[in-house]
């Protein structure tokens, strides 16, 4: 009698603890949104936080934007179920920042204003280039966002069973629209910073608890990973989780994924626009380095909580308790009880909210600034504040669209995989044209438009005819299209360029080269 009462009461306390922590985060971020909204006067404030974010702040915000549900829930789940191959994601996610640091961050800050397309439109014909760049930005953002929404829905379903997947997805969608519509870039940045701090502390705590189980002996920890037993198709198998190839049977799959990650980050619109929130290129550089430190530490820790979940709970237990995306929160429950489970779940939820807000602002900025102002209205604002108003409306539309798609896809799909696809599109469509427009004098509008469209279309088509969607007898054998679609993007941009000449674009190259290397004439921070 009494024990059955306890069993009934337990889930209620558990969801209360989680709910309180989650509500505290939401309340805190809404306060920030309120104060940001009062400071939001003008486009530069709304789209670029007045360009007054400091290096370490932006570093944390970049890390916050980047360490998504895919990282925390998806990678932990992959490592927990199949070991080493999941860790390959972790490696690629960090190394990718070298591309950002060496090639993209500083020239972008020096020659753009609000979006990735600013850099392309600088010396090319603005309307066709911006229209295509805006389309690819929206595509990447929505792909990425769906992954986050799916993660959020699955998480809440597990955390608070009375809330359905659909309700959770709608809740996340509404909150992110509030952040973006009212708070703009400043609120979004602070949401990222708080989330990054929470996520890092949660991960460190979780890692310490895992190692405590092994008396802080790394030898014993790795020893335990070499024989992990799980059930596959009713047969018990024991596998060494440090062995590669348990997920990726085809080595080309690994290489294709690696290419998507390493070249995709430098084309992710929500990461790129962060470099406009700092005062100058030097700060953009230091923020990348801060981000690399934080992101690197985080991904090294996926070793502890991913492999730790495999070793302490075992893949069968994880499959039975929420599945692939729930390994990290379940590990927290296993090690620290209900309150720690609630904390880690709230952190994961905060992670998702923050990333979704970052994606929404990048999509709506691109639509308002690139498509509405520059393509439809030739770069002129007819009434003051119009661009910001359009961005706010877009945020609503983008939010609604991704809610609907996430509900249609349902909670079962692995979110790290979905994000891998967003990276592939970013790498194939955006990176070739960014690199060519910064470094190749001869590059022109035809090249940019053909590179963007071929990169975008080829990556999406290859995903559709690939094994994850066609299941049996796929036309294209690789899970991630990057190995083929990135070279296609570069090739199309190259051939398109050779098909025409644009003397004006070539003449402007000198100006762009001087600007991007010296910072002369770059957008300044606004005064208080």
């Amino acid at each position: 009698m009494f024990s059955s009462f306890l069993a009934q009461a337990a889930p209620v306390t558990q969801s209360n603890a989680a709910l309180i922590m989650f509500l505290a985060f939401v309340a805190g971020t809404l306060v920030i949104t309120y104060f940001s909204a009062r400071q939001n006067t003008g486009s530069s404030a709304y789209f670029a936080a007045g360009r007054r974010i400091t290096g370490w702040q932006n570093g944390l915000a970049v890390a916050g934007d980047y360490m998504s549900a895919a990282s925390f829930l998806g990678i932990a789940g992959m490592i927990a179920l199949d070991g080493y191959d999941g860790f390959m994601y972790s490696v690629g996610f960090l190394v990718a920042y070298l591309t950002v640091l060496f090639i993209v961050a500083e020239p972008l800050r020096n020659s753009g204003k609000y979006t990735m397309a600013d850099v392309l439109a600088y010396r090319l014909k603005p309307r066709p280039v911006r229209a295509m760049a805006s389309l690819s930005t929206l595509t990447v953002s929505i792909f990425y966002m769906i992954a986050q929404m799916v993660g959020a829905g699955a998480l809440v379903q597990l955390l608070i069973p009375v809330i359905t997947y659909e309700q959770a997805v709608i809740g996340v969608g509404v909150l992110m629209v509030v952040y973006v519509v009212f708070g703009g870039m400043l609120a979004t940045t602070w949401v990222q910073i708080i989330k990054a701090v929470l996520l890092m502390s949660g991960s460190i705590f979780l890692s310490v608890l895992v190692m405590a189980k092994f008396n802080f002996s790394f030898g014993a920890f790795f020893e335990s990973l070499t024989a992990i037993t799980s059930t596959k198709d009713g047969v018990e198998v024991t596998r060494n989780f440090l062995t590669p190839g348990l997920i990726f049977k085809n080595p080309l799959d690994q290489i294709s994924l690696g290419m998507a990650l390493v070249f995709g980050t430098a084309g992710l619109p929500h990461i790129l626009i962060r470099f406009y929130t700092v005062p100058d290129a030097k700060t953009a550089r230091s923020s990348v380095v801060w981000a690399m430190l934080i992101i690197g530490l985080f991904y090294i820790m996926t070793t502890f909580f991913g492999f730790g979940a495999a070793s302490l709970m075992g893949p069968d237990y994880i499959r039975a308790h929420g599945g692939t995306n729930m390994a990290a929160p379940e590990l927290a429950r296993f090690l620290g009880g209900e309150v720690f489970f609630a904390f880690i779940s709230a952190v994961a939820f905060a992670t998702i909210l923050a990333v979704v807000a970052g994606l929404t602002i990048s999509a709506s900025t691109s639509f308002a600034h690139d498509f509405y102002s520059n393509v439809l209205h030739h770069g002129k604002e007819h009434r003051p504040g119009q661009e910001v108003r359009v961005a706010r409306i877009t945020a609503f539309v983008v939010g609604a669209a991704s809610i609907v798609i996430a509900i249609i896809l349902g909670p079962k799909i692995n979110v790290a995989f979905l994000v891998g696809l967003a990276f592939a599109v970013a790498a194939s469509a955006n990176l070739p044209v960014i690199i060519f427009s910064i470094f190749w004098k001869r590059f022109n509008t035809v090249g940019a438009v053909s590179g963007l469209s071929v990169g975008l279309i080829s990556s999406i088509v290859l995903i559709i005819v690939g094994p994850e969607i066609m299941k049996t007898d796929p036309i294209f054998p690789l899970k991630n299209p990057a190995l083929v679609s990135i070279p296609l993007g570069f090739l199309a941009a190259f051939i398109g360029t050779l098909c025409s000449r644009e003397p004006n674009a070539e003449a402007m190259f000198t100006e762009m080269e001087v600007r991007s290397n010296t910072g002369l004439g770059a957008e300044k921070a606004t005064a208080h």
């Binding site: 080493y84 190394v95 790795f222 550089r285 290397n517 004439g521």
Partner: protein, 141 residues
């Protein structure tokens, strides 16, 4: 009209700046604070800066670091999936306790990325100085 009329703005420049009489074509330059955005676009003589030997040195110095560093990290990174994919036996070699080469090499990627990032920051501090020197030569007095 008496000059003391308060409704007439005083066009006299405040201190040693050129008069406001609009030049025809690209005449003597206006003071920076009187420029419209359109005029400010050509604020610098881009071609002169681009042709400057110090600017070319800056570009060369950047290329000397960035090209080899990029080639290095791309090769270092893709060596991992290549070895893991096609030489699984080699990568299964245990190098520290039960830790195999595959994991150790993956972990080394993190340190490779951090070290390259710090080397880049060091080199970039020099480029900032070079860029500032170039701009000082061309800045409007």
């Amino acid at each position: 009209m008496p000059p003391s009329d308060p409704n007439t703005p005083d066009y006299t420049p405040e201190s040693a700046s050129p008069t406001d009489i609009a030049p025809l074509g690209r005449g003597p330059e206006k003071p920076a604070h009187e420029m419209t955005a359109e005029e400010d676009r050509d604020a610098a003589d881009w071609n002169a800066i681009a042709a400057d030997s110090d600017f070319k040195k800056l570009l060369a110095s950047k290329a000397r670091f960035i090209i080899p560093a990029t080639v290095f990290f791309i090769i270092y990174y893709f060596t991992l999936p290549v070895l893991v994919g096609w030489f699984p036996d080699l990568m299964a070699t245990e190098v520290w306790g039960r830790v195999n080469l595959a994991y150790a090499f993956a972990l080394s990627q993190f340190f490779m990325a951090w070290i390259l990032a710090f080397l880049y920051v060091g080199a970039a501090a020099g480029w900032d100085k070079q860029a500032a020197a170039v701009l000082a030569k061309f800045s409007r007095k």
